[in-house]
Protein backbone atom coordinates (compact mmCIF):
# COMPACT_ATOMS: atom_id res chain seq x y z
CA UNK A 1 0.00 0.00 0.00
CA UNK A 2 1.48 3.37 -0.98
CA UNK A 3 1.92 6.26 1.44
CA UNK A 4 -0.71 8.23 -0.51
CA UNK A 5 -3.34 5.56 0.18
CA UNK A 6 -2.34 5.28 3.86
CA UNK A 7 -2.62 9.03 4.35
CA UNK A 8 -5.93 9.04 2.46
CA UNK A 9 -7.34 6.29 4.68
CA UNK A 10 -6.14 8.04 7.85
CA UNK A 11 -7.76 11.33 6.78
CA UNK A 12 -11.03 9.62 5.85
CA UNK A 13 -11.08 7.75 9.16
CA UNK A 14 -10.67 11.08 10.97
CA UNK A 15 -13.53 12.57 8.95
CA UNK A 16 -15.85 9.61 9.49
CA UNK A 17 -15.28 9.79 13.25
CA UNK A 18 -16.24 13.45 13.35
CA UNK A 19 -20.05 13.42 13.42
CA UNK A 20 -20.24 17.20 13.11
CA UNK A 21 -18.47 17.13 9.72
CA UNK A 22 -20.61 14.28 8.44
CA UNK A 23 -23.81 15.98 9.53
CA UNK A 24 -23.03 19.43 8.15
CA UNK A 25 -21.45 18.33 4.88
CA UNK A 26 -23.40 15.23 3.97
CA UNK A 27 -26.71 14.88 5.80
CA UNK A 28 -27.77 18.49 6.19
CA UNK A 29 -27.74 19.28 2.42
CA UNK A 30 -30.02 16.33 1.68
CA UNK A 31 -32.46 17.37 4.41
CA UNK A 32 -32.22 21.11 4.00
CA UNK A 33 -32.09 21.62 0.24
CA UNK A 34 -35.70 20.54 -0.47
CA UNK A 35 -37.02 22.76 2.33
CA UNK A 36 -34.88 25.73 1.31
CA UNK A 37 -35.65 25.50 -2.39
CA UNK A 38 -39.19 24.24 -2.64
CA UNK A 39 -40.61 25.45 0.66
CA UNK A 40 -40.87 29.16 -0.26
CA UNK A 41 -42.14 28.30 -3.74
CA UNK A 42 -44.91 26.09 -2.41
CA UNK A 43 -45.75 28.59 0.30
CA UNK A 44 -46.00 31.48 -2.16
CA UNK A 45 -47.93 29.37 -4.66
CA UNK A 46 -50.38 28.33 -1.99
CA UNK A 47 -50.79 31.92 -0.78
CA UNK A 48 -51.45 33.05 -4.36
CA UNK A 49 -54.07 30.35 -4.85
CA UNK A 50 -55.80 31.27 -1.61
CA UNK A 51 -55.80 34.92 -2.65
CA UNK A 52 -57.56 33.92 -5.86
CA UNK A 53 -60.11 31.76 -4.10
CA UNK A 54 -60.91 33.94 -1.08
CA UNK A 55 -62.77 37.27 -1.04
CA UNK A 56 -60.72 40.38 -0.21
CA UNK A 57 -61.97 43.81 0.72
CA UNK A 58 -60.80 46.58 -1.61
CA UNK A 59 -61.35 50.32 -1.33
CA UNK A 60 -63.38 51.90 -4.16
CA UNK A 61 -63.99 55.53 -5.03
CA UNK A 62 -66.45 56.68 -7.70
CA UNK A 63 -66.44 53.26 -9.41
CA UNK A 64 -69.51 52.72 -11.63
CA UNK A 65 -72.02 50.08 -10.48
CA UNK A 66 -71.40 47.86 -13.54
CA UNK A 67 -67.69 47.74 -12.73
CA UNK A 68 -68.48 47.00 -9.07
CA UNK A 69 -70.53 44.04 -10.24
CA UNK A 70 -67.53 42.78 -12.15
CA UNK A 71 -65.33 43.15 -9.06
CA UNK A 72 -67.80 41.20 -6.93
CA UNK A 73 -67.84 38.43 -9.54
CA UNK A 74 -64.05 38.33 -9.26
CA UNK A 75 -64.36 37.61 -5.49
CA UNK A 76 -63.62 41.12 -4.31
CA UNK A 77 -65.72 43.02 -1.79
CA UNK A 78 -65.79 46.76 -2.63
CA UNK A 79 -65.68 49.12 0.38
CA UNK A 80 -66.35 52.81 -0.36
CA UNK A 81 -63.49 55.11 0.60
CA UNK A 82 -62.46 58.74 0.15
CA UNK A 83 -58.73 58.07 0.46
CA UNK A 84 -57.88 54.95 -1.57
CA UNK A 85 -54.13 55.53 -1.78
CA UNK A 86 -53.72 56.23 1.96
CA UNK A 87 -55.86 53.23 2.88
CA UNK A 88 -53.58 50.95 0.90
CA UNK A 89 -50.42 52.57 2.24
CA UNK A 90 -51.69 52.14 5.81
CA UNK A 91 -52.66 48.55 4.99
CA UNK A 92 -56.35 49.06 5.82
CA UNK A 93 -57.05 47.23 2.57
CA UNK A 94 -54.79 45.22 0.24
CA UNK A 95 -55.76 47.28 -2.82
CA UNK A 96 -58.08 50.08 -3.94
CA UNK A 97 -59.61 51.44 -7.18
CA UNK A 98 -60.52 54.98 -8.11
CA UNK A 99 -62.41 55.99 -11.25
CA UNK A 100 -61.89 59.50 -12.54
CA UNK A 101 -62.13 61.01 -16.01
CA UNK A 102 -62.52 57.64 -17.74
CA UNK A 103 -59.48 56.13 -15.97
CA UNK A 104 -59.41 53.38 -13.38
CA UNK A 105 -56.44 53.82 -11.05
CA UNK A 106 -55.52 50.74 -9.05
CA UNK A 107 -53.54 51.25 -5.84
CA UNK A 108 -51.43 48.51 -4.34
CA UNK A 109 -48.17 47.87 -2.48
CA UNK A 110 -46.10 46.56 -5.32
CA UNK A 111 -42.58 46.31 -3.87
CA UNK A 112 -41.60 42.67 -3.58
CA UNK A 113 -43.77 39.59 -3.31
CA UNK A 114 -46.74 41.11 -1.47
CA UNK A 115 -50.28 39.80 -1.08
CA UNK A 116 -51.35 43.24 -2.24
CA UNK A 117 -49.76 42.65 -5.66
CA UNK A 118 -51.81 39.45 -6.01
CA UNK A 119 -55.03 41.36 -5.24
CA UNK A 120 -53.98 44.06 -7.72
CA UNK A 121 -53.62 41.49 -10.48
CA UNK A 122 -57.07 40.17 -9.56
CA UNK A 123 -58.47 43.70 -9.96
CA UNK A 124 -56.61 44.20 -13.26
CA UNK A 125 -58.14 41.04 -14.69
CA UNK A 126 -61.63 41.98 -13.53
CA UNK A 127 -61.41 45.53 -14.92
CA UNK A 128 -59.86 44.33 -18.20
CA UNK A 129 -62.81 41.98 -18.62
CA UNK A 130 -65.15 44.88 -17.84
CA UNK A 131 -63.43 47.02 -20.48
CA UNK A 132 -63.63 44.20 -23.06
CA UNK A 133 -67.33 43.87 -22.30
CA UNK A 134 -67.87 47.60 -22.90
CA UNK A 135 -65.98 47.41 -26.20
CA UNK A 136 -68.02 44.39 -27.26
CA UNK A 137 -71.29 46.18 -26.39
CA UNK A 138 -70.29 49.23 -28.44
CA UNK A 139 -69.35 47.07 -31.43
CA UNK A 140 -72.60 45.15 -31.21
CA UNK A 141 -74.69 48.40 -31.19
CA UNK A 142 -72.86 49.40 -34.37
CA UNK A 143 -73.51 46.02 -35.95
CA UNK A 144 -69.89 44.93 -35.88
CA UNK A 145 -68.46 41.58 -34.80
CA UNK A 146 -66.01 41.41 -31.90
CA UNK A 147 -63.77 39.31 -34.14
CA UNK A 148 -62.41 42.49 -35.74
CA UNK A 149 -60.58 43.08 -32.46
CA UNK A 150 -58.54 39.97 -33.10
CA UNK A 151 -57.69 39.78 -36.80
CA UNK A 152 -54.77 37.44 -35.97
CA UNK A 153 -54.05 35.00 -33.14
CA UNK A 154 -50.89 35.10 -31.06
CA UNK A 155 -49.62 31.90 -29.48
CA UNK A 156 -46.47 31.48 -27.35
CA UNK A 157 -44.69 28.14 -27.29
CA UNK A 158 -41.81 27.14 -24.98
CA UNK A 159 -39.02 26.07 -27.32
CA UNK A 160 -36.41 25.39 -24.62
CA UNK A 161 -34.66 22.04 -24.45
CA UNK A 162 -36.15 19.16 -22.48
CA UNK A 163 -33.20 19.38 -20.05
CA UNK A 164 -33.79 23.09 -19.46
CA UNK A 165 -37.50 22.57 -18.88
CA UNK A 166 -36.79 19.71 -16.45
CA UNK A 167 -34.46 21.90 -14.43
CA UNK A 168 -37.00 24.73 -14.56
CA UNK A 169 -36.26 27.82 -12.54
CA UNK A 170 -33.50 25.88 -10.76
CA UNK A 171 -31.46 25.47 -13.93
CA UNK A 172 -28.92 27.97 -12.65
CA UNK A 173 -29.25 26.91 -9.02
CA UNK A 174 -28.00 23.36 -9.61
CA UNK A 175 -24.53 24.53 -10.76
CA UNK A 176 -24.69 27.22 -8.07
CA UNK A 177 -25.13 24.74 -5.26
CA UNK A 178 -22.70 22.29 -6.84
CA UNK A 179 -19.96 24.93 -6.61
CA UNK A 180 -20.97 26.09 -3.13
CA UNK A 181 -21.07 22.57 -1.75
CA UNK A 182 -17.70 21.67 -3.28
CA UNK A 183 -16.18 24.73 -1.61
CA UNK A 184 -17.96 24.24 1.65
CA UNK A 185 -17.60 20.47 1.86
CA UNK A 186 -13.87 20.49 1.20
CA UNK A 187 -13.10 23.37 3.51
CA UNK A 188 -13.54 21.59 6.85
CA UNK A 189 -11.30 18.68 5.83
CA UNK A 190 -8.71 20.91 4.14
CA UNK A 191 -8.38 23.02 7.28
CA UNK A 192 -8.40 20.03 9.59
CA UNK A 193 -5.60 18.31 7.68
CA UNK A 194 -3.39 21.42 7.47
CA UNK A 195 -3.87 24.26 9.96
CA UNK A 196 -5.73 21.88 12.26
CA UNK A 197 -2.77 19.48 12.29
CA UNK A 198 -0.40 22.38 12.87
CA UNK A 199 -2.47 23.67 15.76
CA UNK A 200 -2.83 20.25 17.36
CA UNK A 201 0.87 19.46 16.90
CA UNK A 202 0.44 16.39 14.68
CA UNK A 203 1.87 17.78 11.44
CA UNK A 204 5.50 17.71 12.53
CA UNK A 205 5.36 13.98 13.29
CA UNK A 206 3.96 13.29 9.84
CA UNK A 207 6.54 15.48 8.12
CA UNK A 208 9.31 13.68 10.01
CA UNK A 209 8.22 10.34 8.50
CA UNK A 210 10.15 9.04 5.48
CA UNK A 211 7.47 10.03 2.99
CA UNK A 212 7.99 12.47 0.09
CA UNK A 213 6.01 15.68 0.66
CA UNK A 214 4.22 15.32 -2.65
CA UNK A 215 2.69 12.03 -1.44
CA UNK A 216 1.55 13.62 1.83
CA UNK A 217 -0.15 16.47 -0.07
CA UNK A 218 -1.75 14.12 -2.62
CA UNK A 219 -3.09 11.87 0.15
CA UNK A 220 -4.63 14.84 1.94
CA UNK A 221 -5.93 16.31 -1.33
CA UNK A 222 -7.65 13.04 -2.28
CA UNK A 223 -9.42 12.85 1.10
CA UNK A 224 -10.54 16.48 0.84
CA UNK A 225 -11.65 15.86 -2.74
CA UNK A 226 -13.71 12.85 -1.69
CA UNK A 227 -15.56 14.80 1.00
CA UNK A 228 -16.04 17.86 -1.24
CA UNK A 229 -17.53 15.75 -4.03
CA UNK A 230 -19.68 13.74 -1.65
CA UNK A 231 -21.01 16.99 -0.17
CA UNK A 232 -21.74 18.30 -3.67
CA UNK A 233 -23.43 15.04 -4.60
CA UNK A 234 -25.50 15.20 -1.40
CA UNK A 235 -26.56 18.74 -2.31
CA UNK A 236 -27.60 17.77 -5.85
CA UNK A 237 -29.39 14.67 -4.53
CA UNK A 238 -31.19 16.98 -2.11
CA UNK A 239 -32.35 19.21 -4.98
CA UNK A 240 -33.33 16.41 -7.38
CA UNK A 241 -34.87 14.18 -4.69
CA UNK A 242 -36.65 17.18 -3.23
CA UNK A 243 -38.06 18.06 -6.66
CA UNK A 244 -39.27 14.49 -7.18
CA UNK A 245 -40.83 14.25 -3.72
CA UNK A 246 -42.48 17.67 -3.99
CA UNK A 247 -43.86 16.86 -7.45
CA UNK A 248 -45.25 13.58 -6.08
CA UNK A 249 -46.66 14.85 -2.79
CA UNK A 250 -48.04 18.15 -4.02
CA UNK A 251 -49.15 17.16 -7.53
CA UNK A 252 -52.77 18.43 -7.14
CA UNK A 253 -51.61 21.67 -5.58
CA UNK A 254 -49.03 22.25 -8.32
CA UNK A 255 -51.64 21.49 -10.96
CA UNK A 256 -53.98 24.09 -9.46
CA UNK A 257 -51.11 26.58 -9.37
CA UNK A 258 -50.18 25.62 -12.93
CA UNK A 259 -46.58 25.67 -11.68
CA UNK A 260 -43.53 23.98 -13.16
CA UNK A 261 -41.18 23.79 -10.21
CA UNK A 262 -38.41 22.08 -12.16
CA UNK A 263 -35.57 20.85 -9.98
CA UNK A 264 -35.23 17.74 -12.12
CA UNK A 265 -32.28 16.55 -14.16
CA UNK A 266 -33.09 15.06 -17.53
CA UNK A 267 -29.74 14.71 -19.24
CA UNK A 268 -28.15 12.44 -21.77
CA UNK A 269 -25.93 9.78 -20.10
CA UNK A 270 -22.77 11.48 -21.42
CA UNK A 271 -23.89 14.77 -19.85
CA UNK A 272 -24.12 13.15 -16.41
CA UNK A 273 -20.55 11.92 -16.92
CA UNK A 274 -19.47 15.38 -18.06
CA UNK A 275 -21.17 16.94 -15.04
CA UNK A 276 -19.23 14.57 -12.76
CA UNK A 277 -15.91 15.08 -14.56
CA UNK A 278 -16.31 18.86 -14.48
CA UNK A 279 -17.13 18.74 -10.78
CA UNK A 280 -14.08 16.55 -10.08
CA UNK A 281 -11.76 18.92 -11.95
CA UNK A 282 -13.19 21.97 -10.22
CA UNK A 283 -12.99 20.23 -6.83
CA UNK A 284 -9.35 19.28 -7.52
CA UNK A 285 -8.55 22.94 -8.21
CA UNK A 286 -10.38 24.21 -5.14
CA UNK A 287 -8.99 21.53 -2.83
CA UNK A 288 -5.41 22.39 -3.83
CA UNK A 289 -6.06 26.09 -3.22
CA UNK A 290 -7.65 25.30 0.15
CA UNK A 291 -4.68 23.12 1.18
CA UNK A 292 -2.23 25.89 0.26
CA UNK A 293 -4.18 28.42 2.31
CA UNK A 294 -4.71 25.94 5.13
CA UNK A 295 -1.06 25.09 5.59
CA UNK A 296 -0.15 28.78 5.53
CA UNK A 297 -2.50 29.53 8.45
CA UNK A 298 -1.30 29.23 12.02
CA UNK A 299 -4.58 27.98 13.39
CA UNK A 300 -8.01 26.63 12.45
CA UNK A 301 -9.56 30.06 12.95
CA UNK A 302 -6.96 31.81 10.81
CA UNK A 303 -7.50 29.24 8.05
CA UNK A 304 -11.25 29.89 8.17
CA UNK A 305 -10.71 33.63 7.83
CA UNK A 306 -8.28 33.06 4.93
CA UNK A 307 -10.79 30.87 3.12
CA UNK A 308 -13.85 33.04 3.69
CA UNK A 309 -13.01 35.43 0.82
CA UNK A 310 -12.69 32.40 -1.46
CA UNK A 311 -16.44 31.86 -1.18
CA UNK A 312 -17.14 35.54 -1.80
CA UNK A 313 -14.95 35.47 -4.92
CA UNK A 314 -17.29 32.88 -6.41
CA UNK A 315 -20.57 34.42 -5.35
CA UNK A 316 -20.46 37.24 -7.94
CA UNK A 317 -19.84 35.06 -11.03
CA UNK A 318 -22.34 32.56 -9.65
CA UNK A 319 -25.00 35.22 -9.34
CA UNK A 320 -24.13 36.45 -12.83
CA UNK A 321 -24.88 32.97 -14.06
CA UNK A 322 -28.64 33.60 -13.90
CA UNK A 323 -28.12 36.30 -16.53
CA UNK A 324 -25.89 34.08 -18.67
CA UNK A 325 -28.56 34.20 -21.38
CA UNK A 326 -27.84 37.91 -21.83
CA UNK A 327 -24.09 37.30 -22.21
CA UNK A 328 -22.62 36.99 -25.67
CA UNK A 329 -20.53 33.97 -24.92
CA UNK A 330 -16.90 34.27 -25.94
CA UNK A 331 -14.50 31.34 -26.18
CA UNK A 332 -12.10 32.96 -23.67
CA UNK A 333 -14.82 32.84 -21.00
CA UNK A 334 -14.06 29.12 -20.90
CA UNK A 335 -10.47 29.83 -19.87
CA UNK A 336 -11.34 31.93 -16.82
CA UNK A 337 -10.69 29.77 -13.73
CA UNK A 338 -13.87 28.71 -11.94
CA UNK A 339 -16.14 30.93 -14.08
CA UNK A 340 -15.57 28.52 -16.98
CA UNK A 341 -16.72 25.65 -14.77
CA UNK A 342 -19.86 27.53 -13.73
CA UNK A 343 -20.71 28.34 -17.36
CA UNK A 344 -20.13 24.76 -18.42
CA UNK A 345 -22.18 23.30 -15.56
CA UNK A 346 -24.98 25.69 -16.50
CA UNK A 347 -24.74 24.59 -20.14
CA UNK A 348 -24.70 20.90 -19.19
CA UNK A 349 -27.78 21.20 -16.97
CA UNK A 350 -29.63 23.11 -19.72
CA UNK A 351 -28.39 20.73 -22.41
CA UNK A 352 -26.75 23.51 -24.41
CA UNK A 353 -23.06 22.73 -23.76
CA UNK A 354 -20.92 22.45 -26.88
CA UNK A 355 -17.95 20.04 -27.24
CA UNK A 356 -15.48 22.92 -27.63
CA UNK A 357 -16.72 24.44 -24.38
CA UNK A 358 -16.24 21.13 -22.60
CA UNK A 359 -12.73 20.70 -24.04
CA UNK A 360 -11.57 24.23 -23.20
CA UNK A 361 -12.95 24.07 -19.66
CA UNK A 362 -11.54 20.65 -18.87
CA UNK A 363 -8.05 21.31 -20.26
CA UNK A 364 -7.71 24.71 -18.60
CA UNK A 365 -9.13 23.53 -15.26
CA UNK A 366 -6.84 20.50 -15.29
CA UNK A 367 -3.88 22.82 -15.87
CA UNK A 368 -4.99 25.17 -13.08
CA UNK A 369 -5.53 22.23 -10.72
CA UNK A 370 -2.04 20.86 -11.44
CA UNK A 371 -0.60 24.33 -10.87
CA UNK A 372 -2.49 24.72 -7.59
CA UNK A 373 -1.40 21.26 -6.44
CA UNK A 374 2.20 22.20 -7.20
CA UNK A 375 1.69 25.34 -5.14
CA UNK A 376 0.30 23.29 -2.27
CA UNK A 377 3.34 20.95 -2.34
CA UNK A 378 5.60 24.02 -2.44
CA UNK A 379 3.79 25.48 0.57
CA UNK A 380 4.34 22.25 2.52
CA UNK A 381 8.04 22.42 1.57
CA UNK A 382 8.49 25.97 2.84
CA UNK A 383 9.88 26.06 6.38
CA UNK A 384 8.54 29.58 6.99
CA UNK A 385 5.05 28.28 6.16
CA UNK A 386 5.04 24.92 7.93
CA UNK A 387 6.67 26.24 11.11
CA UNK A 388 4.80 29.55 11.04
CA UNK A 389 3.32 29.63 14.51
Amino acid sequence: MSAVVRIYIKEMLSVLRERRVIFTTLILPILLMPILMYGPLLFFGNAARQTQEKVQQVGVQDVPEAALQRLRQAKVEPIPTQSPEADVREQKVQAAVRFQGGTFTIYGRLSGATQSSLVVSKLETALRNYKDELVAQTLRTKGLSTEILEPVQIRTQDASRVQERAAGIFAFLIPYFLVIFILNGGQAVAIDSTAGEKEKGTLEALLAAPVPLSQIVIGKALATLTVALTAALAGVIGIVLGGTVVRGLFAPLLQRQNANIGGGLSLEPWAYGALLATSILFAALMVSVQLSLGVYARSYKEAQSLMAPLLLVFIIPLLMLQFSDFLTQQSWFYLIPAFNVMLLLDGLVKGSAQPWQVTLTWISTLAYAALALGLAVRSFRREDVVFRN
Binding site: G201, E204, A205, A208
Partner: protein
Protein backbone atom coordinates in the same frame (compact mmCIF):
# COMPACT_ATOMS: atom_id res chain seq x y z
CA UNK B 1 25.80 7.70 15.00
CA UNK B 2 25.27 11.50 14.89
CA UNK B 3 27.92 13.96 13.83
CA UNK B 4 27.38 17.62 13.07
CA UNK B 5 29.89 19.86 11.33
CA UNK B 6 29.50 23.63 11.60
CA UNK B 7 25.77 23.18 11.51
CA UNK B 8 24.15 26.61 11.21
CA UNK B 9 20.71 28.08 10.69
CA UNK B 10 20.20 31.70 9.79
CA UNK B 11 16.91 33.61 9.50
CA UNK B 12 17.75 36.81 7.63
CA UNK B 13 20.16 38.53 10.06
CA UNK B 14 19.44 36.25 13.01
CA UNK B 15 21.62 33.21 13.62
CA UNK B 16 19.45 30.65 15.41
CA UNK B 17 22.20 28.02 15.32
CA UNK B 18 25.82 29.04 14.86
CA UNK B 19 28.43 26.54 13.63
CA UNK B 20 27.45 23.69 15.89
CA UNK B 21 29.79 20.68 15.90
CA UNK B 22 29.32 17.67 18.15
CA UNK B 23 29.26 13.91 18.02
CA UNK B 24 27.04 11.30 19.65
CA UNK B 25 28.11 7.66 19.72
CA UNK B 26 26.12 4.43 19.94
CA UNK B 27 24.73 3.63 23.38
CA UNK B 28 25.11 7.24 24.45
CA UNK B 29 22.71 9.93 25.68
CA UNK B 30 23.89 13.39 24.70
CA UNK B 31 22.28 16.26 26.58
CA UNK B 32 21.76 19.39 24.54
CA UNK B 33 21.15 21.87 27.30
CA UNK B 34 20.19 25.50 27.12
CA UNK B 35 17.55 28.07 27.95
CA UNK B 36 14.42 28.61 25.86
CA UNK B 37 15.31 30.08 22.48
CA UNK B 38 18.92 28.86 22.63
CA UNK B 39 18.58 26.95 19.34
CA UNK B 40 17.97 23.41 20.63
CA UNK B 41 14.73 22.80 18.73
CA UNK B 42 16.13 24.28 15.52
CA UNK B 43 19.16 21.98 15.80
CA UNK B 44 17.04 18.88 16.27
CA UNK B 45 14.71 19.90 13.45
CA UNK B 46 17.72 20.19 11.15
CA UNK B 47 18.89 16.73 12.21
CA UNK B 48 15.39 15.40 11.49
CA UNK B 49 15.56 17.07 8.04
CA UNK B 50 12.53 19.21 8.84
CA UNK B 51 14.65 22.35 8.42
CA UNK B 52 17.38 22.90 5.88
CA UNK B 53 20.73 24.07 7.34
CA UNK B 54 22.01 27.43 6.10
CA UNK B 55 25.60 26.22 6.44
CA UNK B 56 27.39 23.06 7.51
CA UNK B 57 25.90 19.60 7.58
CA UNK B 58 25.37 16.54 9.72
CA UNK B 59 25.45 12.78 9.50
CA UNK B 60 22.74 10.70 11.10
CA UNK B 61 23.28 6.94 11.20
CA UNK B 62 25.72 7.33 8.33
CA UNK B 63 23.44 9.42 6.11
CA UNK B 64 23.92 13.05 5.17
CA UNK B 65 20.98 15.24 6.18
CA UNK B 66 21.31 17.39 3.05
CA UNK B 67 21.83 14.62 0.50
CA UNK B 68 19.81 11.72 1.91
CA UNK B 69 16.87 13.16 3.89
CA UNK B 70 14.57 10.15 3.41
CA UNK B 71 17.29 7.74 4.58
CA UNK B 72 17.93 9.95 7.60
CA UNK B 73 14.22 9.89 8.49
CA UNK B 74 14.09 6.12 8.17
CA UNK B 75 16.83 5.85 10.80
CA UNK B 76 15.59 8.43 13.22
CA UNK B 77 12.79 9.07 15.67
CA UNK B 78 11.86 12.48 16.99
CA UNK B 79 9.71 13.55 19.92
CA UNK B 80 9.17 17.08 21.08
CA UNK B 81 7.05 18.56 23.82
CA UNK B 82 4.47 20.04 21.48
CA UNK B 83 4.13 16.94 19.32
CA UNK B 84 0.80 15.14 19.38
CA UNK B 85 -0.86 12.25 17.59
CA UNK B 86 -4.24 12.04 15.87
CA UNK B 87 -6.93 12.27 18.50
CA UNK B 88 -9.68 10.65 16.41
CA UNK B 89 -7.61 7.48 15.99
CA UNK B 90 -6.94 4.80 18.58
CA UNK B 91 -3.43 4.27 19.90
CA UNK B 92 -3.13 1.10 17.81
CA UNK B 93 -4.28 2.89 14.63
CA UNK B 94 -1.80 5.72 15.18
CA UNK B 95 1.07 3.30 15.65
CA UNK B 96 0.04 1.16 12.67
CA UNK B 97 -0.20 4.29 10.50
CA UNK B 98 3.29 5.57 11.33
CA UNK B 99 4.93 2.13 11.45
CA UNK B 100 3.77 1.42 7.90
CA UNK B 101 5.98 4.23 6.58
CA UNK B 102 9.01 2.34 7.91
CA UNK B 103 7.97 -1.01 6.47
CA UNK B 104 6.92 -2.27 9.93
CA UNK B 105 3.77 -4.15 8.95
CA UNK B 106 1.97 -7.45 9.49
CA UNK B 107 3.59 -9.80 12.02
CA UNK B 108 6.59 -7.53 12.42
CA UNK B 109 4.22 -4.78 13.54
CA UNK B 110 2.57 -7.12 16.05
CA UNK B 111 5.95 -8.04 17.54
CA UNK B 112 7.09 -4.43 17.71
CA UNK B 113 3.79 -3.37 19.23
CA UNK B 114 4.22 -5.97 21.96
CA UNK B 115 7.77 -4.76 22.56
CA UNK B 116 6.88 -1.06 22.71
CA UNK B 117 3.80 -1.46 24.88
CA UNK B 118 5.83 -3.52 27.34
CA UNK B 119 8.68 -1.01 27.29
CA UNK B 120 6.38 1.96 27.88
CA UNK B 121 3.76 0.11 29.95
CA UNK B 122 0.88 1.22 27.78
CA UNK B 123 -0.88 -1.96 26.61
CA UNK B 124 -4.16 -1.07 28.34
CA UNK B 125 -4.71 2.08 26.25
CA UNK B 126 -3.98 0.79 22.77
CA UNK B 127 -7.61 0.54 21.71
CA UNK B 128 -8.69 3.82 23.24
CA UNK B 129 -9.16 6.88 21.06
CA UNK B 130 -6.25 9.24 21.66
CA UNK B 131 -8.66 12.01 22.71
CA UNK B 132 -9.83 9.79 25.57
CA UNK B 133 -6.28 9.22 26.86
CA UNK B 134 -4.57 11.03 29.74
CA UNK B 135 -1.72 13.45 28.93
CA UNK B 136 0.85 10.90 30.04
CA UNK B 137 -0.63 8.16 27.88
CA UNK B 138 -0.76 10.49 24.91
CA UNK B 139 2.91 11.30 25.38
CA UNK B 140 3.70 7.59 25.56
CA UNK B 141 1.85 7.11 22.27
CA UNK B 142 3.94 9.93 20.76
CA UNK B 143 7.12 8.19 21.95
CA UNK B 144 5.92 4.77 20.81
CA UNK B 145 5.29 6.26 17.35
CA UNK B 146 8.88 7.50 17.27
CA UNK B 147 10.54 4.22 18.29
CA UNK B 148 8.33 1.51 16.80
CA UNK B 149 10.75 1.16 13.89
CA UNK B 150 13.60 0.92 16.44
CA UNK B 151 15.61 3.80 15.00
CA UNK B 152 19.32 3.86 15.84
CA UNK B 153 18.96 7.59 16.64
CA UNK B 154 16.30 9.14 18.86
CA UNK B 155 15.86 12.88 19.35
CA UNK B 156 13.96 14.00 22.45
CA UNK B 157 13.18 17.71 22.64
CA UNK B 158 11.67 18.95 25.90
CA UNK B 159 9.86 15.62 25.91
CA UNK B 160 8.75 15.87 29.55
CA UNK B 161 6.98 19.21 29.09
CA UNK B 162 3.50 19.08 30.61
CA UNK B 163 3.91 15.59 32.06
CA UNK B 164 2.97 14.68 35.61
CA UNK B 165 5.50 13.12 37.95
CA UNK B 166 4.61 9.51 37.03
CA UNK B 167 4.72 10.02 33.29
CA UNK B 168 7.98 11.97 33.63
CA UNK B 169 9.53 9.17 35.66
CA UNK B 170 8.43 6.60 33.07
CA UNK B 171 9.97 8.65 30.29
CA UNK B 172 13.32 9.01 32.05
CA UNK B 173 13.37 5.26 32.73
CA UNK B 174 12.60 4.64 29.08
CA UNK B 175 15.55 6.83 27.98
CA UNK B 176 17.96 4.68 29.98
CA UNK B 177 16.40 1.46 28.70
CA UNK B 178 16.54 2.59 25.10
CA UNK B 179 20.17 3.61 25.51
CA UNK B 180 20.96 0.15 26.84
CA UNK B 181 19.87 -1.25 23.45
CA UNK B 182 22.89 0.50 21.90
CA UNK B 183 20.93 3.45 20.53
CA UNK B 184 22.07 7.06 20.31
CA UNK B 185 19.88 9.64 21.99
CA UNK B 186 19.99 13.41 21.97
CA UNK B 187 18.14 14.68 25.00
CA UNK B 188 17.35 18.37 24.67
CA UNK B 189 16.06 20.15 27.75
CA UNK B 190 16.33 23.22 29.93
CA UNK B 191 15.66 21.13 33.04
CA UNK B 192 19.17 20.36 34.33
CA UNK B 193 18.07 17.79 36.91
CA UNK B 194 16.72 15.55 34.13
CA UNK B 195 20.00 15.83 32.23
CA UNK B 196 21.93 14.93 35.38
CA UNK B 197 19.93 11.74 35.58
CA UNK B 198 20.07 10.40 32.03
CA UNK B 199 22.92 12.03 30.05
CA UNK B 200 26.42 10.64 29.52
CA UNK B 201 27.79 13.76 27.88
CA UNK B 202 26.40 17.28 27.69
CA UNK B 203 26.68 20.30 25.43
CA UNK B 204 25.67 23.74 26.70
CA UNK B 205 24.07 25.84 23.99
CA UNK B 206 23.32 29.54 24.24
CA UNK B 207 22.25 31.94 21.47
CA UNK B 208 22.88 29.20 18.94
CA UNK B 209 26.47 28.54 20.00
CA UNK B 210 27.93 25.54 21.77
CA UNK B 211 29.65 27.11 24.77
CA UNK B 212 30.71 23.92 26.53
CA UNK B 213 30.97 20.22 25.78
CA UNK B 214 32.13 17.42 28.03
CA UNK B 215 31.15 14.39 30.02
CA UNK B 216 28.43 14.81 32.59
CA UNK B 217 30.94 14.16 35.35
CA UNK B 218 33.26 16.92 34.05
CA UNK B 219 30.34 19.31 33.86
CA UNK B 220 29.28 18.44 37.39
CA UNK B 221 32.81 19.10 38.63
CA UNK B 222 32.69 22.49 36.88
CA UNK B 223 29.58 23.33 38.88
CA UNK B 224 30.67 21.79 42.16
CA UNK B 225 28.27 18.89 41.75
CA UNK B 226 25.47 20.94 40.21
CA UNK B 227 24.83 21.02 36.49
CA UNK B 228 22.77 24.19 36.66
CA UNK B 229 25.62 26.03 38.40
CA UNK B 230 28.07 24.68 35.81
CA UNK B 231 25.84 25.94 33.04
CA UNK B 232 25.57 29.46 34.50
CA UNK B 233 29.32 29.64 35.20
CA UNK B 234 30.18 28.54 31.66
CA UNK B 235 27.81 31.11 30.21
CA UNK B 236 29.33 33.88 32.32
CA UNK B 237 32.83 32.86 31.22
CA UNK B 238 31.74 32.81 27.57
CA UNK B 239 30.25 36.31 27.91
Amino acid sequence: MVETQNLSKRYRHFRAVDALSFRVGAGEVYGLLGPNGAGKTTTLRMLATLLQPSEGTANVAGYDIRQQPLEVRRNLGIVNGGMQVYERLTGREVLRFFASFYGVEGRLFDHRLEWVTHLLRMDDVLDKLVREMSTGMRQKTVIARAILHQPPVLLLDEATAGLDVFARRALLDFVLEYKSLGKSLIYSTHVMSEAEEVCDRVGFINRGKLVYEGTKDDALRLGNGNLERAFIRRLEEAA
